[in-house]
Symmetry: C2
Subunit: 490 residues, 2 copies
Amino acid sequence: MTEAAKNVKAPRTAITPTRAENFPEWYQNVIKAADMAENAPVRGCMIIKPYGYAVWENIQGNLDRMIKAEEVQNAYFPLLIPLSFIAKEAEHIEGFAKECAVVTHHRLESDGKGGLVPAGPLTEPMIIRPTSETIIGEAFSRWVQSYRDLPLKTNQWANVMRWEMRPRIFLRTSEFLWQEGHNVFETHDDAEKDALRMIEVYREFYENYMAVPGFIGAKTPDERFPGAIETYTIEAFMQDGKALQGCTSHNLGQTFAKSSDIKFLDRDGVQKLAWTTSWGLSTRTIGGLIMVHADDDGMVMPPKLAPYQVGILPIIHDEADKPKIMEFCDKIRKELLAKGVSARIDKSGQRTSDMMWGAIKKGVPVRLEIGAREIAEGQLTYTRRDLGKDGKKKVSVDEFLGSIEGVLAQMQKDMLERARQRMQGMVIEIKTLKEMRDFFAAEKIGGVKIDYKLIQDSDEFEAIKKEFSVTPRCLPFADNGQKVIVAKAY
Amino acid sequence: MTEAAKNVKAPRTAITPTRAENFPEWYQNVIKAADMAENAPVRGCMIIKPYGYAVWENIQGNLDRMIKAEEVQNAYFPLLIPLSFIAKEAEHIEGFAKECAVVTHHRLESDGKGGLVPAGPLTEPMIIRPTSETIIGEAFSRWVQSYRDLPLKTNQWANVMRWEMRPRIFLRTSEFLWQEGHNVFETHDDAEKDALRMIEVYREFYENYMAVPGFIGAKTPDERFPGAIETYTIEAFMQDGKALQGCTSHNLGQTFAKSSDIKFLDRDGVQKLAWTTSWGLSTRTIGGLIMVHADDDGMVMPPKLAPYQVGILPIIHDEADKPKIMEFCDKIRKELLAKGVSARIDKSGQRTSDMMWGAIKKGVPVRLEIGAREIAEGQLTYTRRDLGKDGKKKVSVDEFLGSIEGVLAQMQKDMLERARQRMQGMVIEIKTLKEMRDFFAAEKIGGVKIDYKLIQDSDEFEAIKKEFSVTPRCLPFADNGQKVIVAKAY
């Protein structure tokens, strides 16, 4: 070993740089180390790898059940939207025109030089849906005829496309996966109640499954979805103090009912314009999950969304012990499965420390080490991922099997509580715009909460927004819409 | 009533025209009457309505579990494929160039006359995936480095696009939903074994869930997937005697490994080209489900894929009875649910006959009528959809609840058996091309089976193909690849 090599210190953490050193790079490296996703060779798009996709499947499965409990039915609408549809609603098209993929041809033909060129020009160009209000609105205008057809509640799980100029894996990708719900009602009040109900469903999902708390409230007018009369949001705070809009629920008023002509014959024999809502949660949410929970050793999965909850690591010092150890591991795996606890045995044959660090970087909630000694003693060593070294315990096999569900539930609860405490410390209440300027000028981590009236029509606030790249995130329900949170955001 | 009106006979069937009168129109009307899907305002695309989408969700849920049991992992790859990727494999691009949606721009801008035009031309056009071998191959070339990385088994649930010139709902739509599996192996034999295994998984799914049997076998060379060295297929026969390729499994040999450069370092230290397979099942399969099972009164759902298995019809003659009846219906619904039987109460308030016909047209496996008399007597009347009037039975409440799972299982079994008998009668074995010509000239329903050698390099067979629009469907495994089935096909 050269003198120089000796002086290179081993990294203290599995992920370098750390959060404190370089948050954006740490984020990319957590995803890479956990093998969740990678950038695709298609500009701005990503490939969601099996371990990352399994998280999305768990999000889908649980959220889908909650959505269906709201008497919403799933359906599927076309990927392509004719230009004339999207152009119907002026504010809406303005919001999406600058970032949409346009299909102009329907075949390829030889260019005579061995290459291929687009051919068969379409009479009307189409765009790949950036969101589906206009194409679904057309269907609703046919499906809704009478008050008897209302409420109409429909959701779709789909891919959408918004041409991102500054793509960032999970957070901003040109193509992403999401669910988009589209509901139709008789009255403004029904629509408003629904928009509020769906943000509440999201809150429950965020807290109970993702273990991610957020400030729940209304967007200020400038930050609303293009065409909405109200946009409700969950603003979660990442570990670097920036906000992330986790998901949104919009009261669209009669904007899209008007442009799509969604009318119903009411009880009084009068034809009336309907009221609509839309609400969505996307793969972006996985970016938030990472930035809230991961640490300098990699991902930390909340047990309810983990691809597998227990990582079983067979510790083989002597090849002769292998069959016995693997058999025992499989027995434990099956007993866990019978309790509804998902588990995976590491069969890679790697060294113990490599298996251990692999599980740590992937954020497997509980690691379980099983070797010849453990079998002989009838004692198992397990470690909770979120507690580091403090999470290590040695217990009897029965004790482990009897307590694992509780251990996972406690970890889920602790993760939420830890994130909540962190979030609360990140937003400080201030009284003046001067304090706001000082806060951001000092590059403090987090955001501020201030009387909403103070930022309305304020030139000073506009100046602060521009200078520090901050935006009003939401008017929290908890403050009755009187106060606004201002922060940097993803 | 006018004299003319009196002479108009009430239709004898819920669907007109009947299968015998006009099969293609009957097919469209079954879908409409069951409210499963409709043509979209986007050329060649469809909207899958909630009742149809629920069938797809059941297909997905069950098939996904079977795929995962094969140790395949789900992932997600980009929608858009750069032209240079798809052009890598000559045979492949030739197969898809004539029917692909081409994205050429990434935004819209004002044309100065109040309209919008495509802007921001892409340096390289992209096509919306018609299938993903080339884009997934690029990822695999990075993921696969060593024999230790193999086998690599990956599946995605996605939308794909093939610009259809003669679209037909579910059967041929420009956009459709599917799963596409892509596996990589060390050897030709491993790939071949996998392609055969996956067509066997599909066979199990087709028979056990869809209650649709088929001829399973290899495609003749001309009918293979572009780039495959073997394509295995399930050829199901519809009630009009035409074949439908239900799903396919391809041994791609080294075609895509070569064009995508998927190589691995083998145990002997030599770098070798991998072997790949791909296999897919799409929403097209729902078209087959309809054309195999529906009758002149509408859809007949196999219980295992039915959106709900029991349709509860509250029979209310006296409004005063309504609360009691609805409460009883809900009690039954919950008891069914506890047994894992899905049920839906018709709350439309329609007349009994309208509710009944609604359930018939939707193909609800079992209808259950509950009125004041039924409650008083403790007797329920239920009807199996597939048996018509013969399917009606009156039993005690306990007897109904005790037997419903058996009734549904028997219906599932009977539907498969009926379809199998019909299919077997539809393909007759012949000895000469003269007999083949006579069969198709006589416009007989179904197809023929003949010695495969007789159609190879035969001018007479080429003439028959052209004259009667028939094609070789497959070389059934049951005949050891010695015989070929020839028929018209969807």
